[in-house]
């Protein structure tokens, strides 16, 4: 089943410079899809459209086989969670527990059930000890973990990360990455759409979508996408370490078999 189906999506914040200019893609259930591209390429606009925050777009957008329109927005939003870039600007509650509860309150989850749900997702994101802490006493990474807990508490089918780690330090980034991989292991049906600058993260995705100038520039598995080194370099995007090294070795006349894709495999091959 396709969780997301976008056809010919176009959108402009102001009339003379379109942010999106005919993007088509689909996301299968349970996949981890990375959207990469430069700032201003339109990739964050995609997230906003999917969340129903923008309305004047053209093209068709379907989530869970429902056309995104006024009548369906509430239904769709109840199945989609999003984590934004700025840790402070999505922390609504006055404490960690209150913030996780915010979404539950909006969905009218009975008061009696809240405490156990909050505790469950706080522990999944490693925030159990911090339930009564106020946001100003938390690090950026911890705030983002709270945001994830708040999203997971809603039991979403699709989670969008809109550059959720861009403002974090390496430790915060690693913590979030660990939580995301745990999420996927625990719920294989969970679909993840990650908008990112990090090509190494994209290399571990199931599928990569490269957006440039409001258009889908490349699309496919990481191996397919990152084999287009020249095209990516032409829009000044880097390729991940492993394909980069393999290409460099080839350039210097040392060939590596096609089936070697991961760091471990490359190490093993070289050690033979």
């Amino acid at each position: 089943m396709n969780v997301v189906e976008v056809k010919n999506l176009a959108f402009a914040y102001d009339s003379d410079s379109p942010a999106l200019n005919g993007v088509t893609f689909r996301v299968k259930e349970g996949d981890y899809v990375a959207i990469i591209g430069h700032n201003g390429s339109g990739k964050s606009t995609i997230a906003k459209v999917l969340m129903g925050l923008l309305s004047d777009y053209t093209g068709t957008v379907k989530l869970f086989d429902m056309l995104l329109e006024k009548e369906s927005i509430e239904k769709i939003r109840s199945r989609v969670g999003i984590v934004f870039q700025n840790p402070d600007n999505q922390f609504v509650g006055s404490t960690v527990a209150d913030d996780i509860a915010f979404g539950l309150e909006n969905r009218c989850i009975p008061h009696e059930k809240m405490q156990s749900i909050i505790e469950k997702y706080a522990s999944e994101t490693g925030m159990s000890e911090f339930l009564n802490r106020e946001p100003e006493s938390l690090s950026g990474g911890q705030k983002q973990r709270v945001a994830i807990a708040g999203v997971l508490a809603m039991k979403p089918d699709l989670v969008i990360f809109d550059e959720a780690t861009a403002m974090l330090d390496p430790k915060g980034k690693a913590e979030i990455a660990a939580i995301v991989s745990k999420m996927r292991k625990e719920n294989p049906k969970l679909t993840i759409l990650s908008i990112t600058h990090d090509v190494e993260e994209a290399a571990s995705a199931d599928e990569v979508l490269v957006i440039n100038d409001g258009k889908a520039f490349l699309q496919g598995t990481p191996n397919e996408v990152f084999s287009h080194e020249k095209e990516l370099h032409s829009i000044q995007l880097d390729i991940p370490f492993v394909p980069g090294l393999i290409n460099e070795l080839k350039r210097q006349g040392f060939s590596v078999p096609e089936n070697i894709k991961t760091l471990e495999a490359l190490e093993d091959y070289l050690c033979q």
């Binding site: 906003k48 969340m51 925050l53 509430e74 939003r77 109840s78 989609v80 969670g81 999003i82 934004f84 700025n86 402070d88 600007n89 999505q90 922390f91 609504v92 509650g93 006055s94 527990a97 209150d98 509860a101 915010f102 979404g103 539950l104 309150e105 909006n106 969905r107 009218c108 989850i109 009975p110 008061h111 809240m114 909050i118 106020e134 946001p135 100003e136 708040g150 809603m154």
Partner: protein, 288 residues
């Protein structure tokens, strides 16, 4: 004039545990008691003294530091002098005490009443501060907001946006530390660009202030924009039905306190209204 009206002090005192709705009601009732007239001077000061003692005990229970109280009173010095002056200059209509002193040349008589009057006003002010301090130092701002929302609920019938107001206040409270952080950051950044916030000519100072305020506004608007998006994505609808994580709950001790406070207020009102009490107590020289 700025009073330092006690910041919330996290502490597990019996006063902290009380329901914020009760605390608001109790504060209002006690303030009414403070501001009523009880007839003779002796009566008035006795009644005020009773509330003063109650407030002092409550303050002690909330572990408010004496220094905090003194600091909030420090700004009152000006008021004291001002009050004394005003009451000394103003003619006393029904003096109940003999003349304190008289300046023949100006035909100016000052009665002891003027000092008592100033003292009464001062005492009332102090008690108002004390009572507010008990409320704010023992109640989280957010709980106060919830309590206010609860009191405003009946107004929803006339489409008064009680919930929206409460949500706005709680978000404002949540973002105060964030905006303060922004302020320090922008100030440091502008100081690095040669701005001085403390020295310089007026025109330079104004430029300094603009260089602080505009970035703060820009960042606050950006934050509110992103926050609104985040809230919408998390299913927030200001008009929609919501459940509550934080519920205000009445306990047996809330009922007990409610009873005590109402009883006290009733007693005080009775004393104030019933003429039999108006000169029950008298200072030796007082005539009435």
């Amino acid at each position: 004039m700025t009073f330092t009206l006690g910041k919330y002090v996290p502490y597990n005192s019996p006063v902290h545990k009380l329901d914020p709705r009760l605390k608001i009601l109790a504060t209002i009732l006690l303030m009414v008691c403070v501001f009523m007239n009880y007839g003779s001077w002796a009566m008035t000061f006795t009644m005020e003294a009773i509330i003063f003692v109650i407030a002092a005990v409550l303050l002690y229970m909330t572990r408010t530091r004496i220094t905090t109280i003194l600091r909030s009173l420090k700004s009152l010095w000006m008021v004291i002098i001002f009050l004394l002056l005003i009451y000394a200059i103003m003619p006393t209509n029904n003096p109940t005490f003999p003349i304190a002193f008289r300046v023949e040349a100006w035909n100016w008589t000052v009665y002891w009443d003027s000092f008592l009057q100033a003292g009464k006003i001062l005492l009332r002010l102090i008690m108002m501060i004390e009572l507010t301090m008990i409320l704010t130092s023992s109640t989280k701002p957010l709980d106060l907001t919830f309590a206010l929302e609860w009191y405003m609920t009946p107004l929803k019938v006339i489409h008064f946006p009680a919930h929206e107001i409460a949500m706005t206040i709680s978000i404002a409270l949540r973002f105060i530390p964030t905006i303060l952080e922004d302020t320090t950051r922008v100030m440091k950044a502008q100081e690095s660009r040669g701005v001085s916030f403390t020295h310089g000519k007026l025109s330079r100072r104004i430029a300094a202030l603009t260089s602080l305020i505009i970035p703060l506004f820009v960042s606050a608007f950006m934050r509110s924009d992103e926050l609104a998006n985040a809230m919408e994505c998390r299913g927030y609808d200001p008009r929609g039905k919501r459940t509550r994580y934080r519920m205000l709950k009445w306990h047996w001790y809330d009922f007990l306190c409610l009873f005590l406070v109402v009883a006290l207020a009733t007693a005080f009102i009775w004393v104030a209204v019933d003429p039999r009490f108006s000169s029950f107590l008298k200072f030796p020289l007082e005539v009435h």
